[in-house]
Symmetry: D2
Subunit: 343 residues, 4 copies
Amino acid sequence: MSKKVSVGIAGASGYGGGELLRLLMGHPKVSVRRLSAESNAGERLSSLFPHLPDFGIFEKTSDVSSWNDLDILFTALPAGMSSRIVSTLPRPHPVVIDLGPDYRFSDPDDFRRVYRMDHGAPETLPMSSYGLVEWSRESIASSRYIGSPGCFPTGALLGILPFLKAGFLGKTPLIVDGKSGVSGAGRGLTIDTHFPEIAEGMKAYKPLLHRHVPEMEHAMKIVSGESVNVVFVPHLIPVNRGLISTIYLPLLSHVTAGMVTSLLLEYEKQNPFVRIVDSPPSSAHVRGTNRVDIHAAMGKELVVVMTAIDNLVKGAAGQAIQSMNLVIGEDETLGLPVWGYYP
Amino acid sequence: MSKKVSVGIAGASGYGGGELLRLLMGHPKVSVRRLSAESNAGERLSSLFPHLPDFGIFEKTSDVSSWNDLDILFTALPAGMSSRIVSTLPRPHPVVIDLGPDYRFSDPDDFRRVYRMDHGAPETLPMSSYGLVEWSRESIASSRYIGSPGCFPTGALLGILPFLKAGFLGKTPLIVDGKSGVSGAGRGLTIDTHFPEIAEGMKAYKPLLHRHVPEMEHAMKIVSGESVNVVFVPHLIPVNRGLISTIYLPLLSHVTAGMVTSLLLEYEKQNPFVRIVDSPPSSAHVRGTNRVDIHAAMGKELVVVMTAIDNLVKGAAGQAIQSMNLVIGEDETLGLPVWGYYP
Amino acid sequence: MSKKVSVGIAGASGYGGGELLRLLMGHPKVSVRRLSAESNAGERLSSLFPHLPDFGIFEKTSDVSSWNDLDILFTALPAGMSSRIVSTLPRPHPVVIDLGPDYRFSDPDDFRRVYRMDHGAPETLPMSSYGLVEWSRESIASSRYIGSPGCFPTGALLGILPFLKAGFLGKTPLIVDGKSGVSGAGRGLTIDTHFPEIAEGMKAYKPLLHRHVPEMEHAMKIVSGESVNVVFVPHLIPVNRGLISTIYLPLLSHVTAGMVTSLLLEYEKQNPFVRIVDSPPSSAHVRGTNRVDIHAAMGKELVVVMTAIDNLVKGAAGQAIQSMNLVIGEDETLGLPVWGYYP
Amino acid sequence: MSKKVSVGIAGASGYGGGELLRLLMGHPKVSVRRLSAESNAGERLSSLFPHLPDFGIFEKTSDVSSWNDLDILFTALPAGMSSRIVSTLPRPHPVVIDLGPDYRFSDPDDFRRVYRMDHGAPETLPMSSYGLVEWSRESIASSRYIGSPGCFPTGALLGILPFLKAGFLGKTPLIVDGKSGVSGAGRGLTIDTHFPEIAEGMKAYKPLLHRHVPEMEHAMKIVSGESVNVVFVPHLIPVNRGLISTIYLPLLSHVTAGMVTSLLLEYEKQNPFVRIVDSPPSSAHVRGTNRVDIHAAMGKELVVVMTAIDNLVKGAAGQAIQSMNLVIGEDETLGLPVWGYYP
């Protein structure tokens, strides 16, 4: 049996970090060596994650610069922090897979414009790749830095890109109406995520202004070469996990229902985590899995594409591990759940 | 003090009926005299509605034809049943306010096409009105039959009509992405509304095909004279009450943010249950009220209008009582809650 | 028509304060004149409570000492703060109805022992009363200071006291297993009330150690003269509102089912907000009301009493207004909902 | 590698069956060969369980009598049906592991008294065992029929039995206050499990009368030889999964906190799925796992034991597989999750 890869997680005390831990603990080729947290440094793992075994203590995120025993470093940190840490890592440093936004744009100016701060290691961007595995397997496999996509862009792009790439789309804008469970807002306390404020309610937030819009547009430019405008309104829904995207795509008039069906079935065939389903997918059916379930409904010169993912798995930790599998030369599905639990 | 109007409810054992009862019991000008149910006929009120006092027994819906002591009859019955009952009522019969679809179309052919059954009393349609009070006060006040709007059309139309009527809209289609709480699906048992199937999940249903689409298009035709196409995808969200609509409206290029703001503030001024709010409205903030909260976000030649209602109040029972108030010559707000409970 | 009483609320920005506002705004004999908050001083009402109209601005709680135009002052403040404010009020000062714990014990030493701080106005305690209306109407009506009960003691005592007072109870301890919705934990942000931490979960907290235990025991001593031990375990349940108490009471061997039924029916007859129901009460059926629903199941020398209240109404704001009604000489039910909304 | 055991599931279309499928599909020593359902016979697996792959079709439960290729047959059927099917199986027939109640009592008269029907195969009861693995490993390993415990008895007994067996308990009755998620009520449609009837509510049901009481008392008799009375009140809580039990145990006066701690730590050491935790366990922390988390709080001659399980795993499917592992000579933990997902 081959040697296991040595993995660390910087910023492991949030929900994305916890999900990384859960999945990596069960991954047959991985040994988790290092964990860091910010305000929770010094705490035991089981005190922050009572659903996990008590196998370690969180170091300080500022200590990451001394971690010299890793093959892979996952970073799940606020914008700008991952790239700042990267610039302090010992050389040659591990492959970095960032669950934050620092490696989602190839141009540091785009990052600055969207996040209103400087990128911490612009010299590393030429060696980076956007980690949407279904659409960039080769570049991910050979990258040193991977920008794992945001949860909303994941759900939206997985539904849009087949149509865009096939040249089926008519005049834009594309409209993406996203609905996310509350874990997508993170583990930090806010009034909007205080139970009585959101339970038994639902609402849109940041309509048209979410930072995931430029991320989506950038990814579409990379894949198709075209500049596409996205109209995006995210919503907060009182469930823990789950993200559904309802995507309204204008079609060129020659595109038939049969062409759409063929396109999607081929898409499913090429991608182990894509499943085409017969009715609008429920987020409950992909819970705990790295799958995306997709359904399309044809209208007049329009197709409505509905996608469902688990925001913490396919939308964060699982997708990052899917990238890691390519980096370490394994099958992209290794250690990742295709099937989930229900109810 | 003036005499109270005498009211009956046919089909009072569902959620719409229960909400009618709750609100009418507190209405200063109403005396509830009659209740009917189908499979629950013979039961006491408090056994079906443990949140209400034990003030009566459900008669059979087939007995309604002998109810000759009413000024107003509310009907909350499956499609086609209200109009069939109407044709059996003693003459002159009470004003009928239907929470079902029988009086939502003025042409019986439209009803037949959408609901795939004949209308039970086509001769009454000329005396009927669509009960969206904010847009048809005069005709409601003088009608004998009122078709109270469906919950999704209510949420959508209250957001679309000011823009349509003002001539602000560019090329259609309009896109309406609706999200409803589970009480909107009624009290009948279905696998989709079995708690473990929907809790912690969310999904679209009947994309593009919902019967509320022709209802919306018909109402827009009446108000504006124009034929407008609607693309509509409803979603089921695991909350009890609440319905939000995210409406993507193309604007003509000369329409400015200032014009939109003025339009909405005037709309609020004219309508006691309309409130324009500074951020996307939460369904939790209108719970238990007959209000609609509206927020608009401007994009490029596009405005996203977000509306929130309580599907059982403004989307059903409250709106029907608002119509009744006009019929009996009272202020439209009488007995209807403007402010709600939270959390 | 008689003049309205002038009312202020100190600490009005939490859930208890918001519910007081909602109910007092609809009370026919009340005019709300003053509101205060601590960190939210200076904010408009509608920014903190989007479900309420925009009728005022929060003053600072430290300004309360200059409020000289009130008949009634409600205080909804952390332990010790109400009595400290009371000592600064202008004389003669308004009747104080405290939703916090400062007036729940008649002896300042008890308060100090339980809350580990000194009482702010021990000289006022002889003029105070415990505000459990069903068991102390006379003393409340003539008190200047009323300690409105905690939510758990309300639910438990309303189930226990009839049996204790009737002399039906056998050897103690009594066991109270309480389950509360999350609004009972208040509006302050904590990790335990962060949506993803409590949704889809449930747990006990502070088993045997909750400060509501000495409050329950003190109230039982006042009503019955006897010292009774209570074993109490509260639980946090992922609903917004609602509190159910499952109370295990040992019975003396001569107590029959008939005696229990008679006792409870008499109890219902004497108390407008008590309803005896035929099956275990759901918290959903009392939501939004000032009612307590009670059901008893007989075992062998044991009765299990189940009570359901809305923790924010009967367990807090509604019950405080019920006391106020007695103080101002009105019927105790005035302005308080007996019937609620469902679902 | 050793040959896989061949497994069938009769009654696989409910939640227990679905969870069996999910877990057995990932079990390294199992091959699932057969599935049956009643009204859903003929359906594809993925149409009933959209979270699972499409690997088969449900046969009719009446066909089970011809299944002659199985080593193990799981039955998840209504009371009385499993034993009736057993009597029709080909001989020698597979080891039967019943998730229903047919093998929970060793005496057919007990079964008849509790379930008001005759046992279908009383001649098989001498070869049966109660499948609470932690307390009957040897008898399970050598049984041909295993009665897997009910969900509430599992949660209660795992908390009570260490104390009972150690001789720590004082005068009974024991009080068990149980709280279950809605999946525990099964997949059949009922008004009580219709989403709007239970969401945002909570209530007790069948107080003192639940069929799990005699099951608990029977199991305690088997383990300790003593007759112990249980007072049990179950509650329905609006979560999908999870079951917590709050158990009030009278202690003999000589039992100290230190003795309790030692007892529990030894218990944890002996049992791979038992975890002793420092604070009241949340059902969220054991979700998806076969673990039981236990916490004890000492009172005066009383200990409150709180246990948390996933009702569909440790309370049903997982526990049944734990028994199967003993039957096939494997480690009891094989294929069973110890750690779960959160949130």
